[in-house]
């Protein structure tokens, strides 16, 4: 398996294929959701709100950057053929400096004698003299993957198990409750540590570990919410009218718990990115070659203590992080308002 991965991991066709596959997956989900009546109605409401649309646009930009950093083009570099992503290509002519330099600075940050800055760096350069803007952009991909892939793992599990447990009760509920109680009874950070020690550091491993820790909470919330709705009059009425169970779940339960998924998704998305930074603080985050805001902020802890202060790396990373989280939260709130059947009538 490892050998097979090594064989294909630097094949441009394979990487692009994988990227397209993921894009197709999410495209299918969006297509499926857009066919749903409740989503169509929600979309109509969403479109009327300008700030929501701006946030959606911001998220779109981040996703586009992540996509641009996932598509690779093989270019002959001396003898070896190396893969360049679109972001890499955009910065191909940006020179490296001798260490830190502030945005638009003419000289590098003084360590042992300042050197002239060769290129123009919108967000300055980091300790290695590399462009911070490039790193910030490349880190968007990591953030989108950490958030997206983890949710891709956690949401289906949590949703399905939560609804099943809440709706059917009995032994199904017992089994689901048992499973998540057992998994969740292990404190999250320790579960993550143990899993990451088994799997080793790396982006997919991190997502897997985070997913394994995330689904439980979602499942618990969904289950509690399902129980609340299960005994409500309209469900009881539908049941007594002989409506098939699957139809009850899709018609009555799912729309009523969907807002929990959205809220959890938006809440989790930011905290997942933050978890990543805490894990790299303990020393078990993503690998060295993966740029991430968490790592940049972590490194900035030391930079902020410098004299004169090195602020641009921290501000770039936390700014990018903040904008994405904010966009997700505002958009999530709007989606929640649009989706929530109880608030619709207000």
């Amino acid at each position: 398996m490892q050998m097979l991965w090594d064989q294909f991991s630097d094949n441009a066709l394979f990487i692009n294929g994988l990227t397209l596959l993921v894009a197709a997956f999410f495209g299918t989900i969006i297509l499926f959701l857009s066919k749903q009546e409740f989503m169509q109605e929600a979309w109509r409401r969403l479109r009327q709100n300008t700030s929501t649309m701006i946030c959606l646009g911001i998220i779109g930009v981040y996703v586009a950057i992540a996509f641009a950093d996932s598509v690779v083009i093989p270019i002959k570099d001396g003898v070896a053929i190396r893969n360049y992503t679109l972001i890499d290509l955009a910065f191909k002519n940006s020179p490296e400096e001798e260490g830190y330099s502030a945005p638009f600075a003419k000289q590098t940050y003084k360590l042992r004698g300042a050197k002239p800055v060769v290129g123009v760096h919108l967000l300055g350069t980091n300790v290695l003299g590399k462009d911070v803007l490039r790193e910030t952009l490349k880190a968007s991909r990591t953030a989108i993957i950490v958030g997206g892939l983890t949710c891709m793992i956690a949401i289906p599990i949590g949703l399905v198990l939560g609804i099943l447990a809440g709706f059917f009760g009995g032994w199904v509920d017992d089994a689901v409750q048992y499973t998540y109680s057992v998994v969740y009874s292990i404190p999250e950070i320790l579960l993550l540590v143990a899993l990451l020690l088994v799997l080793g550091p790396g982006l997919p491993q991190l997502c897997l570990a985070l997913g394994a820790a995330t689904w439980v909470n979602l499942c618990r919330q969904i289950r509690a919410e399902t129980i609340k709705h299960r005994d409500r009059d309209y469900v009881l009425a539908a049941r007594s009218l002989g409506v098939p169970t699957t139809q009850i779940i899709f018609r009555h339960i799912l729309p009523n718990v969907m807002h929990i998924v959205v809220i959890m998704f938006t809440l989790r998305f930011s905290s997942l990115i933050l978890s990543e930074s805490i894990l790299s603080y303990i020393g078990i985050g993503v690998g060295v070659d993966t740029a991430s805001w968490g790592q940049m902020i972590n490194g900035a802890r030391t930079e902020l203590a410098r004299e004169p202060i090195v602020w641009w790396v921290f501000l770039s990373a936390s700014g990018a992080l903040f904008v994405l989280v904010l966009a997700f939260n505002v958009f999530g709130d709007a989606v929640r308002d649009a989706l929530d059947p109880k608030l619709r009538t207000r």
Partner: protein, 329 residues
């Protein structure tokens, strides 16, 4: 009611079993005991020495059960002779044995760490709960006003910063610049109060954004319900509607979240304790992780799990008290 509680208590037993099974599998696949032994013994140990160490720490038995397919199968011993069963037995009796790295009694170290941890986590827990619930009630009360969107925005801002940022900023501002609190250290007895204040404050602020925002959505959910309108139509004042009806009904999701945060109580203070030098269980966990002290880590996991299981028990019982519609059987 009583019958339900008894059933619920009995239900925790298999969960404890499951936790132990899962932790056992996780921890015994991470590092083989032979490697731990070799690292601990140093000095190019002989195979006998390693065997001796393994025996002393109980790592020489068959792993799961004493069955013929196990590499360490011992036909002279009964089928239950294994690392797993002895691990189960020992942890159930709270005999955690000795640490893999220092050889100290783990139980003693846990007991030493429990009080400092409790001094941080319990006040932080209570304060967080009170402050977040009242803040979210306030925001719900003024929904639609500048306080609502302003508060939500502040919550989002609070949520966006990593915990290290709060700790560093708090230590810098309140310790170094304003000089109200010690940034480091711990003392026993009443003197501990001044060491505890700043970590507790930071702990509350860290939890604030996430919780208030979540509770606000819950509250607004409830405000949109029919019963609230009915209550309002009866001529009840907004305050009474909020405090009596909305708060009562919002308690289920709030309780769920509170319990969900319980394990973090012990272990979420990991970085806090590390930064402030509080010799609690969180600090001990960092030690166990960096030193790869698996027996210590196992003990900590078990302790955290027990705590959570108790929390779960209490929520499920209070579910039925808060909302009589919910029945788990």
């Amino acid at each position: 009611m009583l019958l339900y509680i008894v059933r619920r208590v009995l239900y925790t037993l298999p969960i404890i079993f499951g936790v132990m099974l899962l932790t056992f599998i996780l921890f015994f696949t991470v590092a083989s005991p032979e490697n731990i032994a070799k690292r601990q013994l140093g000095k190019n140990p002989t195979p006998e020495l390693v065997q001796n160490w393994l025996h002393n720490h109980g790592y020489d038995k068959p792993q799961l059960l004493n069955l013929p397919f196990d590499a360490k199968y011992d036909p002279k011993q009964p089928w239950y002779y294994s690392q797993f069963t002895s691990h189960m037995q020992a942890t159930l009796l709270f005999q955690f044995g000795i640490s893999d790295t220092t050889g100290e009694d783990i139980g003693t170290r846990l007991a030493q760490g429990a009080l400092p941890s409790a001094l941080i986590t319990l006040p932080a827990f209570v304060a967080t709960l009170l402050i977040t619930v009242s803040l979210s009630l306030g925001i719900a009360f003024y929904r639609g006003s500048y306080l609502d969107w302003g508060g939500t925005f502040i919550c989002i801002v609070l949520m966006s910063a990593p915990i290290m940022g709060y700790i560093i900023a708090g230590q810098w501002l309140l310790g170094l610049v304003l000089r109200y609190f010690p940034v480091f250290g711990f003392a026993s007895g009443f003197d501990s109060l001044r060491f505890v204040l700043l970590p507790v404050l930071i702990g509350v602020i860290v939890a604030l954004g996430d919780s208030v925002r979540f509770y606000r959505t819950i509250m607004l959910d409830e405000i949109g319900q029919d019963y609230t309108r009915t209550a309002r139509a009866k001529g009840l004042s907004e305050q009474i509607v909020l405090f009596k009806h909305v708060l009562k009904n919002a308690l289920i999701p709030i309780l769920t979240k509170v319990v969900a945060d319980l394990p973090l109580l012990i272990l979420g203070s990991l970085l806090l304790e590390n930064f402030f030098g509080i010799p609690g269980l969180g600090n001990l966990t960092i030690v166990a992780i960096t030193e790869l002290d698996f027996s210590l880590l196992r003990a900590l996991v078990f302790l955290g799990s027990i705590l959570y299981i108790i929390g779960l028990l209490l929520t499920d019982i209070s579910y039925t008290l808060v909302d009589p519609r919910v029945r788990l059987d």
